[in-house]
């Protein structure tokens, strides 16, 4: 490590953190109950698992609506605009530089809390996986009440596949939290809102340009 000073910056607002942890809780809860309904194991009992899954799933839809509202009213959506700039150097960092103790090519700032790789990953999840999961989940839930566009086997198949992809994301996401300034600095950041970063890291204009207050 170089001897740069570390400073703390306020990265995540109260709502953002609440949403993040609530989302985490709900996703874990949905995966646990969902896999039981899928027949992977027995835990709560099928009937309870279905009740909980339905309830949390519907709650999720409401919460997600709030999230989308927040995203657009605060302009935070701009943080999810994908870019290929520096994407390669981020990939290279995780594939090689990290082992050599090299600094992350992009540090977080209020205006750019996601690096180009994160932008891609989160956009993929928020704009593709989650909507597909919500749509198939809702169609599954309402299967008896609305015209059956897709057979249940297809709905259930997609819903399960996306759930497994989200579980995959969870594994990687959890691991990536350990790659910060210290092992728990990312997690601490998401709990308190304040994250430690290297003081001297220069933030390029192209990164914050989108969200910079004029």
């Amino acid at each position: 490590m170089t001897d740069k000073n570390t400073i703390k910056i306020y990265l995540y607002t109260r709502y953002e953190r609440l949403w993040h942890w609530l989302q985490a809780l709900m996703i874990i809860c949905l995966i646990v109950t969902g896999l039981e309904i899928h027949g992977t194991y027995t835990l709560l009992g099928f009937q309870t698992a279905v009740s909980v899954h339905d309830f949390v799933g519907l709650s999720w839809l409401i919460m997600f609506a709030f999230f989308v509202f927040w995203l657009f009213t605060t302009g935070e959506w701009k943080q999810y605009i994908p870019t290929t700039k520096k994407l390669f150097s981020v990939v290279l960092f995780y594939a090689w530089g990290i082992f050599q103790g090299k600094p992350h090519p992009i540090e977080k700032t209020k205006g750019a809390k996601h690096n180009p790789l994160q932008r891609l990953a989160y956009l993929g999840i928020s704009a593709m996986l989650l909507p597909v999961q919500m749509a198939t989940g809702l169609l599954y839930y309402l299967y008896n009440d609305i015209p059956q566009i897709l057979p249940l086997s297809v709905l259930a198949g997609i819903h399960t596949l996306v759930a497994l992809f989200l579980l995959n994301f969870l594994v990687i996401h959890l691991y990536m939290t350990t790659t910060g300034h210290s092992l728990f600095s990312h997690i601490a950041g998401m709990i308190t809102g304040w994250e430690e970063i290297q003081e001297t890291t220069k933030i390029a204009d192209w990164e914050t340009g989108a969200t910079k207050k004029k």
């Binding site: 086997s153 596949l161 594994v171 990687i172």
Partner: protein
């Protein structure tokens, strides 16, 4: 602690607590608490004030207050007031034993070409042994008079035996004998006025004991449902709703609602709200099509699964029922005489006159799509002896809007068929030419087929057959209904044979599951290696 942090923590705690508390709401929708389900509410209303009443006391009717010497005389007395009763009754299947009620159409019915895999055929009412259950006097069949008392008398008195005794004693002039005759006459007189709507015992005498004994045929209709046991049957248990058979099997012109051979009990399920004159024969009649609580997932099942499938977890829960009847073993003798061998449950497992049996108790039903109709293989239908012949089997599949997944008892057995004509055969059993007397199957078939006018080649062998009985009685209290995982489970699902549906918990897409789990496995291996790499390279730190 700074005030602004304090506020923040409070808000977080409130939000998290609210989230967990809302789980309560999800659990609260399970059946235990909250208010009554629609199906129960409606059914309770439908049977309110169910007490029958009548404007007549048959003990005061003059035509009944005389000395009868034969059953026919009693019937005449009945008809003297109920002028149309016999005329109506003559048109019903209970009299004709023909599904169509038309004497010329003998395709389906006990008195027609229909067969089963018990005593096989009624031989056009020529097999007198069967006529014990016919609603005529003295086993005369359709040639006799209607025996009204068979269904409409609650005394349990054996009129036929009493009239037989009177006849036997009538030639004797001994004053003691005369006294006995007088006593019998009085007993008949007392019993004859006990006129009633059919009780469970009246119907059960034949329907519980069909096939030659208690519980032989139906797995869910035997003498046990006349008793005090609501755990066995919530509707019929005397400590339950105490329904008689006719509470649901309603009647029009002596035609009793219920399934008849190929005809379903009803074409469409209707609740009494939709049609108050519809027969009350289906669950839907009283309980409606969506009987469970409002938000219950169970209501989403009713377009596919019958009520019976979950609410009758097992059949023959008190008395055993016959599951196997092998005619090939019939005819063995002990010391040159026919014999009976008893097995578990005290039930016969072998009878020289009938063959080998197997009995079972607490049987898990088999499940099939059914629209209420059943196929019926008659002795005039060509069969494939290389296969197990389905003598009677439910009709319906997923695409049929009236079909649901129903529970069934499948009675299996081996019975004779014509090797040349490839048709099932109808051996005559009772009487001097019957198998039970001659123990000559070939001869019994010869005589039996003749009664129905179906030619017999003279060569027979045995074929394995199944006969399906819908399971619809013995509805257990709701707490004993099946739970989800009896069906929604990967292994040993009760509905393992119903493959046209996707069932969560039972089914999965192998392709999607494999892709998903492989990706997770890959991710785990990836982060593990990456983590190990970081650990051993010490994140690039020098010391």
């Amino acid at each position: 602690m700074k005030p602004r942090y304090f506020l923040k923590y409070c808000l977080t705690i409130i939000a998290v607590t609210a989230f967990f508390c809302s789980f309560q709401a999800a659990f609260a929708s399970t059946p235990e608490n909250s208010e009554e389900a629609l199906g129960r509410k409606l059914a309770k209303q439908a049977v309110k004030g169910s007490k029958r009443w009548s404007t007549i006391d048959h003990a005061k009717i003059a035509v009944l207050n005389k000395e009868f010497t034969s059953g026919e005389q009693i019937t005449q007395a009945c008809i003297s007031c109920h002028s149309e009763a016999a005329t109506q009754f003559h048109k019903t299947i209970h009299w004709t034993w023909l599904a169509s009620g038309d004497k010329k159409d003998i395709r389906y019915g006990k008195a027609g070409y229909s067969v089963n895999n018990f005593c096989i055929s009624g031989n056009a009412m020529e097999d007198r042994g069967c006529l014990k259950c016919h609603t005529s006097w003295d086993k005369k069949g359709v040639k006799g008079e209607v025996n009204c008392l068979k269904c409409h008398n609650s005394s349990g008195f054996n009129f036929i035996e009493a009239f037989g005794d009177i006849k036997a004693f009538s030639e004797d002039d001994d004053p003691d004998t005369k006294e006995i005759i007088k006593d019998i006459q009085q007993e008949i007189k007392d019993a004859v006025t006990k006129v009633t709507f059919p009780t469970r015992k009246n119907c059960g005498e034949c329907h519980f004991k069909g096939g030659g004994g208690d519980g032989v045929k139906h797995g869910e209709l035997d003498t046990s449902i006349t008793k005090r046991n609501r755990m066995l049957d919530v509707h019929m248990g005397t400590d339950g709703k105490n329904f008689s058979c006719t509470r649901c099997h309603t009647t029009t012109d002596h035609h009793i609602a219920g399934r008849i051979y190929t005809n379903p009990a009803v074409e469409t399920r209707k609740s009494l709200i939709e049609d108050d004159l519809a027969p009350k024969i289906t669950c839907v009649s009283c309980h409606s099509a969506e009987p469970h609580k409002n938000d219950s997932k169970m209501n989403d099942h009713t377009d596919v699964v019958s009520c019976q499938a979950c609410h009758i977890p097992k059949y023959a829960r008190v008395n055993p029922t016959k599951m196997w009847w092998d005619w090939t073993k019939a005819g063995k003798m002990k010391d040159g005489k026919p014999y009976v061998e008893k097995g578990p449950f005290g039930k016969p497992v072998y009878k020289s006159i009938k063959g080998e049996f197997r009995w079972e108790k607490n049987v898990v039903p088999e499940y099939f799509w059914s629209n209420g109709s059943q196929t019926s293989t008659t002795i005039n239908d060509v069969i494939d002896p290389a296969q197990i012949v389905k003598v009677s089997h439910p009709v319906g599949d997923k695409t049929d809007p009236e079909a649901r997944i129903f529970p069934f008892k499948l009675h299996r057995g081996k019975q004779p068929y014509d090797k040349v004509h490839k048709k099932l055969l109808a051996p005559l059993l009772s009487g001097k030419n019957g198998y039970w007397t001659t123990f000559d199957m070939n001869d019994a078939i010869e005589h039996g087929n003749k009664t129905l006018g179906i030619p017999y080649s003279g060569e027979f062998d045995y074929v394995e057959t199944t006969y399906a009985f819908p399971i619809t009685h013995m509805v257990a209290p709701r707490e004993n209904a099946l739970n989800c995982t009896q069906c929604h489970i990967r292994e040993n699902s009760r509905l393992a044979s119903i493959t046209e549906l996707y069932m969560p918990g039972r089914d999965k897409s192998n392709l999607f599951d494999t892709i998903g789990w492989l990706s997770i496995f890959g991710a785990c291996v990836g982060v593990l290696l990456h983590g190990l790499g970081r650990f051993f390279m010490r994140n690039g730190k020098e010391d």
